[in-house]
Symmetry: C2
Subunit: 219 residues, 2 copies
Amino acid sequence: MKATNTAGYEAPIGLTADPVVFTLLDGRLCVLLARRLEEPQRGMFSLPGGFVGASEAPSETAERKLREKTGVGSVHLEQLRTYADPARDPRGWLPTIAYMALVRPETLPEETPAEREASWHPVDRLPELALDHATIVDDGIWRLHARVGDKVWFVRKALALLPEPFTLRQAQQLYEALRGEVVDAANFRRDMRGTGLLEDTGSQRSEGPGRPGRLYRRV
Amino acid sequence: MKATNTAGYEAPIGLTADPVVFTLLDGRLCVLLARRLEEPQRGMFSLPGGFVGASEAPSETAERKLREKTGVGSVHLEQLRTYADPARDPRGWLPTIAYMALVRPETLPEETPAEREASWHPVDRLPELALDHATIVDDGIWRLHARVGDKVWFVRKALALLPEPFTLRQAQQLYEALRGEVVDAANFRRDMRGTGLLEDTGSQRSEGPGRPGRLYRRV
């Protein structure tokens, strides 16, 4: 299906906005999905987005749809990328603007809209996703890998996922899960201290065998 | 003006794609602009973009419009950001997907489409731009600053702007212009060698007073 419009231009049949919301759960990077209650591909898991209204900024739509479909409240959404391949949606030419956020797992309330099954899914074990949402999630993972490579961004934004105080070992586990690769512990510790954004609480905590770890918080 | 469409959704009146093409000219960061030959804001300088056709990927549109309006041939366009504020265009709800490229100045041919005045403009002395194009250019500059901060990206992509062989002093001048800040020469030289992506030609060249500079090329 193609659309024409009253303004005389070739035009998309609409515009959607899709939030890609990540968290760390049990040490694994997860993304928030919900089942589609509408056609096409009703019943499949997808990103919890929807149609942008004519008087709404797309980022507002992404936040509104996220709330309606999953119960997740206000989050900081960063624009990820726009997908506008004419063949991406069976309904017609329907571009979507994707947004990305990184939140704590408890941001998803226990009570969520019925039938939607809003839930966290490990990115390395995703169900089949509607439309081109698997591609969008994949691009989000790559953006996250890149963002986290900036140690200052990591401390300022990603470390907010850990309850304070935390050890540098916990910070490293988070970093490795979000970065998608293992890092050298000594280099990591030096880089963390080098940001000047961590404060040593003076306390320590034992985490299994080995020396207890010093406890830090973000300044 | 708002549009409705035959598919029954609230829909934009169209979709455009705008290329933000940068170069370094006489040591200054410049962006490629062309005059609008159509309403609205006919005659003003703007990014050389245009309407996406229903069977065209927006990146293809950006490249096609760039060629039609400026004569610049195929370039590597990276998606920058999408602007979809309902008020951004007086014609109605008209989102645009912006793309970014970094090219040599001679990529702009001497013979360009008449009346368009396709030309390089230093980013710190831009004319008044149509629509929200000043914002788009500004976002492009910030993206470029961020990209260049990655030394590997700088060597692989940005150094292609310099004729080979070049001195590290030339490389530093390029870096500072694209990065938007002055850097320490010793650190810069160490970082450049650290990428392992530069080859010492064994030759040297005098550039004014002081020791002649070693000449390098990219591996």
